[in-house]
Subunit: 613 residues, 2 copies
């Protein structure tokens, strides 16, 4: 234990200094942008009025902007962990969507710092949903307060996505009340730390949610259970007792995310308690997995935002060559040695691509935040026996399940692309650590890997969420989008908006058509789904982002017509939307073709033929 | 000076250990692959017979495989620097294409190590072409022997691509025989080292080729001259004299390429000698720039090769889930806990994409190596007054100039993509430094930046190489490709080959058509070229790679028909080609659309509108 504590102490000290890092540009929370997206595009005020558990309490919708501003002013101070948790556990019972905006700003300012509270929330949600009352009452209050942190322990050396191979064992003790857990877990983010806590220990309490097998459990995923395993045992009065044999064997040296310790955890007869039902661990885990996949989507879009802010700063500052269009160029500066590089179309395309990803991604995420609010709201009523609410909760859960792999898969890959372009705008200076652009690139890279690689997301979407559910969620979604398009076409303020609405409507039809084509191919050849899945996922991502840019364009045109608000801001929205439709959305042309390419081209090669040397 | 020497010593010591790094997989030079590409696709043996300066000497074409093998066995020992240089300076006078195969293996095994000899060769070529005899006789023999290394000093803090802003000054001394050079140069790769040399200094002689201005020279690029500035002054007997006030101020901390020191060099009244003609420095520099841009292309394709070798190794080793197609899957292993991930179509697509980039890139590079041989061969005859050779040299130079931005821009970006996919195949383990996959990703990243970013390559191709030359190089190239396609269609061994040949021929027509469209747009709007250029470059890259995959497919079918050689190897070629045509080439569909998107979408936004926060 001594070893692991000193490992962690050594590791987290640079983290503490991370907040004071010197940057040539300084991240600014895009408040105007966030308000536009939450209010004018997604109508959060109206949405809050529909939430039962919120509307019935003190927290009136009017407090939103106040909480919003406070979060902006104080996000570094922390103490915001309980924002969207029940008052019963010390939370403020505000909607999840508000907590998400806070998380967005924290994630952009310092992704790795935000992983500690983020992963803790994953553990809190899991314990809240599946833990018995005696566990919730002991563990949740200090976790919701932020004094104790939490982790999720899934991966083992021999298995990541294929959790059927989990080998950690849990042996019954204490006549089934508690278990003795032994095994090795790897890639445990925020697995330990020395932040300290109010309960008096120097190095902080950590609550691990651990997947393990009980003796005699069925093979594969059907024999996995979920356990709560604390770093320190907890005394009856809530104070910390003895260490529970949970050791950090190693901290990984990674490509990026250096601010967050990725731990190999060793459990050796550590005491644990069952969460939920025995052998239902995989199902229980999906609560956490869905939340954390949306967290990855946030990672992608906030990396795009941060890299974009840096690249705009640099493109206005750095001088190189003259604009080809001379004086007519919107950034031409005749008095300087050369023009700032923001005059050059190629640089602008890089900046606009980043902007389209950051803002399109934000809108996609805010929509999911609304669904999450509805889900939580109705789940609470459903627990009291409300049948209508139960159905509404199921529907929200389905909607979320359908959108999650699209957001996770698409926004993380596009976040990597956006960070790449930010480095590109800086040229050689982007490759130098001091300028921080390459760090964004390294930090966001893990987004397309953890919580299921892009390949896994593609299979989740096309296999589990679409074909296993007989296309239902897809058809529902496409109908909803087309209905919005129809309204927009009927009332379109400009011909551009109308054309974009037509494009989106046609794309949803093509999406359904392509799904049917793959389905037909898969009848004869089961590999057709896997072979199509990543291209399919990306097609879905572009189409979904187009739907969101359409919504933003409509909201911006509304703002322009009203003549209130910031004209330049609205016009920038319209122009970015136009750029997305002209220069990015045509990627669907290629994807529509490649997802249908014959599986022979992929499967025919023997394993030996892959060796060329 | 003391400071800079100790800086370098500290820096290069880990580099020396780099050769012994532990990898889970070990790079193997793909000898079979290189022989196929050089002989069966590009007919190097026949090509060597056409080289006058080679055919007339002892070095018969038969020695190729021998030198090839030796290079493979001994590349780490060095001493290969003079392979393709004249005997007069101590070289072996072998074709440049042979030296390139040696470089390819060194670059794959250890990119940053290979930068020292690589940059030295840039300096050797520059001195050989532009230096007066009294400079060549002193500096070339020890450089060709590899005892002295060389660099190119272009970039300054305020300017990279826009060399018009170069501010380093060269003041005449010694009645014009020598100059006093003062200024700061940044991003100087291999700017210094402590390898030592045979001339007796502890920390090695370095010869810098430096861009600077003389007093009163015209502004902009027309007033830049090129100078030779040694680290140590050289005594009359060739031994090293005093230090020449060339200091290393800083070594950059970069995203990757940690094995190579990137130096900020400070020249303070350092003695230098003019290379070539005064104020013609930019022109003289293009010799070096073209070579180094092809070096970048090699960086991209070798990164794809290395990452592919690692990913194949891992995909055969790592077990996760079962193949959907069960027993019929070419990699299914029923006796193991799960199948190796190489059974899964998504993993295979990643591997095949890497393979198509590595092998397609190799073929593109070997073609350029042949052109470089012809260029060097004819330049030598032209120097003796041969008019036919002079014309042939000009033609080879034009061909090279046209292909260089395509190879540099396309292969570096695709190399980055390929390395990304390698990390993806490893999943979370790809993000861990120890597994070396993320290092390939970081090392290759600079390829798309240095020697001109992808944006600069796009402008070079479309602006300088195509429109400024009134489409001549493009039309010549497309005619040549179509002629090959026509022959292939007439004699096609399989319907697949025929279809691929038709596709390539049609793509060259589309390429010319798109060029004309952009030309028309640019008549009214000069930004049309810059706005189209990167998409255009990528279109050219895919089309050019398709031409090379077609050539490889034809050669492989020939090998299969002959019934000699490795059947599995040839079949893998045919299958990889098929994958390229089915799953990668359709990217041209999107690019053909986006390169023509209206410039309004890019240029309309004001500089202020880029600020959202």
């Amino acid at each position: 234990m001594l070893r692991s504590t000193s490992l962690i102490r050594k590791f987290t000290s640079p983290l503490r200094r991370a907040g004071t890092s010197v940057r040539s540009y300084q991240y600014k929370a895009p408040v105007k942008e966030m308000l536009f997206c939450s209010e004018e595009v997604h109508g959060f005020q109206e949405h809050y009025k529909t939430l039962n558990n919120l509307a019935g309490e003190d927290a009136s919708p009017e407090m939103t902007p106040a909480g919003f501003k406070e979060a902006y002013d104080q996000y570094v101070d922390g103490g915001w962990q309980g924002l969207s948790y029940p008052e019963k556990y010390g939370g403020s019972n505000l909607p999840m969507s508000l907590a998400l905006m806070k998380s967005e700003m924290m994630a952009t300012a310092n992704w790795t710092w935000s992983m500690f509270p983020g992963l803790s929330k994953g553990a809190i949600n899991t314990i809240m949903l599946h833990g018995e009352d005696y566990l919730r009452d002991v563990y949740l209050p200090p976790m919701v307060a932020g004094n104790w942190t939490g982790t999720m322990c899934l991966t083992e050396p021999q298995c990541g996505s294929d959790l059927a191979q989990v080998a950690t064992m849990a042996i019954t003790e204490d006549e089934g009340k508690s278990y003795s857990i032994s095994g090795t877990k790897i890639f445990i983010s925020a697995g330990d730390h020395d932040f300290g806590d109010s309960a008096g220990s120097a190095d902080g309490q950590v609550i691990h949610c651990v997947l393990a097998r009980t003796p005699g459990a069925p093979e594969g995923t059907k024999g996995i259970s979920l356990f709560l395993v604390p770093k320190y045992l907890v005394n009856e009065d809530g104070s910390l007792g003895e260490l529970n044999n949970v050791g950090v064997d190693r901290i990984e040296d990674k490509m990026g995310c250096h601010g967050s310790p990725t731990c190999q955890m060793n459990f050796e007869n550590s005491k644990g308690w069952l969460l939920g039902t025995k052998n239902q661990g995989m199902n229980h885990m999906f609560t956490f997995i869905n939340t954390s996949r949306l967290g990855c989507a946030i990672q992608g879009s906030t990396a795009a935002e941060l890299s974009h802010q840096g690249a705009v700063w640099y493109a206005k500052d750095r001088l190189a060559m003259r604009a080809l269009s001379g004086k007519r160029n919107p950034g031409h500066e005749p008095d300087k040695a050369a023009d700032p590089i923001i005059v050059h179309p190629d640089v602008r395309k890089n900046l606009l691509t980043q902007k389209a990803i950051a803002e399109g991604g934000r809108s996609m995420i805010y929509e999911c935040a609304k669904i999450a609010d509805k889900l939580a709201d109705n789940e609470m009523l459903a627990a009291e026996g409300d049948e209508v609410a139960k159905k509404a909760a199921e529907e929200a859960d389905d909607d979320m399940g359908f959108l999650t792999p699209i957001l996770k898969g698409f926004l993380t890959e596009k976040g990597v692309d956006a960070a790449h372009l930010g480095v590109q705008v800086y040229g050689g200076h982007g490759y130098i650590k001091q300028n921080k652009m390459e760090q964004i690139s390294r930090d966001v890279r893990i987004g397309a890997i953890w919580e299921g690689t892009t390949g896994i997301q593609g299979l989740d979407l096309l296999g589990r969420k679409i074909f296993l559910q007989k296309l239902k969620p897809l058809n529902k979604h496409c109908s909803k989008v087309r209905s919005f398009c129809w309204d927009t076409i009927m009332s379109a303020p400009t011909s551009k908006v109308r054309n974009h609405a037509i494009k989106v409507a046609l794309l949803t039809l093509e999406w359904q058509f392509l799904t049917a084509r793959i389905g037909l191919m898969a009848k004869d050849d089961r590999e057709a789904i896997g072979s199509a899945s990543v291209d399919y996922l990306m097609f879905a991502g572009y189409t979904h982002m187009a739907y969101h840019w359409l919504q933003m364009e409509v909201a911006a045109e509304k703002g322009l017509a009203a003549g209130t608000g910031d004209k330049e801001f609205y016009e920038a929205k319209v122009q970015t939307s136009n750029f997305f439709f002209e220069s990015m959305l045509p990627q669907t042309k290629t994807l529509a073709k490649t997802m249908l390419s014959p599986t022979d081209a992929v499967m025919k090669m023997s394993v030996n033929q892959f060796e060329t040397a």
